[in-house]
């Protein structure tokens, strides 16, 4: 399962403008970010395709960084993305898998053990589980915590990527709970220096894996 990235950037989430996001994504990629997720629920199909193709182009110098498109399998295929990220509103994993084939990543965002098991049965490549800590993007919904994360990572064998309020300082405990990697949105999108923050995250993740 080494081909599932450890560090995922999620954007633009309405936190930054699409064009700014392209710049941030490129800086994160050059510092070792393994996957860039395009979450563009409010974009039309045409705009979403333009955005995904621009990102693919911007990242052409970083072949190690995967492009993951949220929900839109047609956009993912046309932009030659490396995979899709699905949620509770999206296609079922098995339907997406049928369209995307075996070589692309199909990630599923989950919020409970049952969902995690179901996604694994349907042959998801990995899960994104959260949110772990309190985060401004989920105001009023307390984080599910590390014990919850450990329950998910114990329940499935596929890689689990933790999301929600993750910072460099919190990486050790997240990996101790069994996470394969982490997904980060606003902490990277709003970082003064996304390249430096990514470098710190990537280094710490490497240490955690070596220690394990």
């Amino acid at each position: 399962m080494t081909d599932v990235p450890r560090l995922h950037l999620i954007g633009p989430l309405g936190v930054v403008k699409p064009v700014e996001f392209l710049g941030i994504a490129t800086r994160c990629a050059s510092a070792g970010c393994g996957a860039i997720h395009l979450r563009m629920r409010d974009l039309s199909g045409g705009d979403a395709l333009r955005m995904a193709r621009s990102l693919r182009r911007e990242l052409s110098g970083h072949p190690g960084t995967r492009v993951i498109v949220n929900d839109r399998i047609d956009v993912a295929l046309l932009a030659m993305a490396d995979g899709v990220q699905l949620g509770e509103r999206s296609f079922e994993v098995e339907d997406a898998r049928q369209l995307l084939g075996e070589r692309r990543l199909v990630g599923r965002s989950v919020h409970d053990v049952d969902g995690a098991k179901r996604a694994e049965e349907q042959r998801a490549s990995y899960l994104i589980a959260g949110h772990i800590y309190d985060t401004p993007s989920k105001e009023g919904e307390p984080g599910r915590g590390l014990d919850w994360l450990a329950e998910i990572t114990t329940a499935v064998e596929i890689p689990v990527v933790a999301i929600g309020g993750i910072t460099v300082e919190r990486l050790p405990q997240v990996f101790t709970a069994g996470a394969h990697g982490v997904a980060i949105g606003r902490e990277l999108l709003l970082a003064d220096d996304p390249h430096a923050t990514t470098t710190r995250l990537a280094r710490t993740i490497e240490q955690e894996i070596d220690d394990a």
């Binding site: 039309s44 199909g45 047609d74 956009v75 295929l77 046309l78 509103r89 999206s90 296609f91 339907d95």
Partner: protein
């Protein structure tokens, strides 16, 4: 079912039902569409904007089955991935959606790809990119689509069709009373929403529409 031949597409566009995402009970939707096909509808387009993708795909799979059994053309609005996943005959695209040429790339040469242009240059570009037919409108005033723009009226509609070599359907405010004029202006068929979808008896409404056009 391959329906790429232009003459066959033209025939199937004759009485074209477009669904409304506000009818979001799948039981109700499938029963209306079945009744409309009983009444003579020849094409169905699923519009599921705002729905969860998985619900849209579920609806698409059910409607595709119904349409396939009855030899009715079945298209998905906007979403090429849903069309691929359910095995629809094709898609109907607007100017903000995926471009016609890339949809064709994914769906293949036999797919039916409809397009709703907004300007003259959109029309020509879509034809060059491989659209199968065009939806031209709004022919009359419509309440269904708030952003549809001012009505063309029949004379302008006819002039537009004269400049287009592809099969065209009229859309926007078409009902049993005015459908014949749309055909006489040169359309291959009429697209309706409310005139069938919101009728008390969708089967009778479709039948009346077909009779009015024959």
């Amino acid at each position: 079912m391959s329906v790429a031949a232009e003459s066959e597409v033209r025939q199937r566009l004759f009485c074209y039902l477009v669904t409304d995402p506000r009818i979001d009970s799948l039981e109700r939707l499938t029963s209306i569409v079945s009744a409309a096909i009983d009444g003579g509808v020849t094409a169905v387009q699923l519009r599921a904007k705002g729905w969860k993708d998985r619900v849209a795909l579920d609806a698409a799979q059910r409607l595709r089955r119904i349409c396939c059994e009855r030899d009715v053309l079945f298209l998905i609005n906007d979403r090429v991935d849903i069309a691929l996943a359910c095995g629809a005959n094709g898609v109907h695209l607007g100017v903000d959606d995926l471009p016609v040429a890339v949809a064709r790339e994914l769906l293949g040469p036999d797919a039916v790809i409809g397009y709703s242009p907004e300007a003259e240059e959109d029309r020509q570009a879509a034809i060059a990119a491989g659209a199968s037919y065009l939806g031209i409108g709004p022919v009359f005033g419509t309440q269904t689509k708030a952003d549809a723009g001012p009505a063309l009226g029949l004379p302008a509609f006819r002039r537009t069709l004269d400049r287009v070599a592809l099969p065209c359907i009229g859309i926007g405010g078409i009902d049993q009373a005015n459908a014949r004029g749309v055909l006489e202006a040169g359309a291959a068929g009429v697209a309706v929403v409310s005139a069938i979808l919101f009728a008390d008896d969708p089967r009778a409404a479709a039948q009346e529409l077909v009779e009015a056009m024959q």
